[in-house]
């Protein structure tokens, strides 16, 4: 079969399954009543977004070969080596942005977990519907 068509097909299936993961985890955030399930779905959603960025940053070399890591291995490099490196290395920019995003997400999830514990200590429930009823009764009284 045509190698260009095969490479496009495999990348399309990968991208579509990542979008499917995003859709399922969005459903989990909105429609599951437990606060802990919402936090688990939020971690899955942010992981899928980071993976999407890295899939876009992949490349194929001429003749459908594998690329190399973005690390210079010959010190000091010659001009020919820099040319070859530019033609066969993977895109390094999405990796740097995803690195920052993973650490920020960790800080936010840890804070949300501490907030969930505090909500349980004050009102002894984790269910969102019960919390809404309690809150409505408090505002009437």
């Amino acid at each position: 079969m045509d190698p260009l068509f095969l490479s496009r097909l495999f990348t399309m299936i990968m991208t579509l399954s990542i979008i499917g993961i995003m859709g399922i985890s969005l459903y989990g955030i909105f429609h599951r009543p437990s606060l802990i399930k919402k936090i688990i779905a939020l971690t899955i959603f942010s992981d899928a977004a980071n993976t999407f960025a890295i899939i876009i940053g992949y490349r194929l070399t001429k003749g459908y070969g594998m690329p190399i890591l973005p690390v210079v291995t010959k010190i000091p490099p010659s001009t020919g080596y820099i040319e070859m490196f530019k033609e066969t290395a993977v895109d390094p920019l999405p990796q740097a942005l995803v690195l920052t995003a993973i650490v920020i997400n960790l800080g936010i999830i840890a804070f949300l977990a501490a907030l969930t514990l505090q909500i349980y200590r004050v009102s002894r429930t984790i269910d969102v519907r019960t919390l809404a009823v309690m809150r409505a009764k408090e505002e009437i009284a």
Partner: protein, 85 residues
Amino acid sequence: MMGLFILFISCIVSILALIATYLAIIERDLLRAILYSAIQSTLFAFLYYVLMAPDIVLVYIPIAIGLYPLLMVIIVKKTERFEKP
């Protein structure tokens, strides 16, 4: 042709990750949901390795397979384990 083989492997791994996250969201026992989410994170770490991103693998394995499930298991132990329908 090695590039096509790599794309084929990552295609299969991402379909398995889709199945694992469907099982994680549907599940009502929260400890099992955490376990399915850790399986999905392991498949994603393998995907990052195959797509030539070693810096991301070194950050992702301790955080998403080591620290997130531990944090969630401590929270589940201190609150409720089952989710009401």
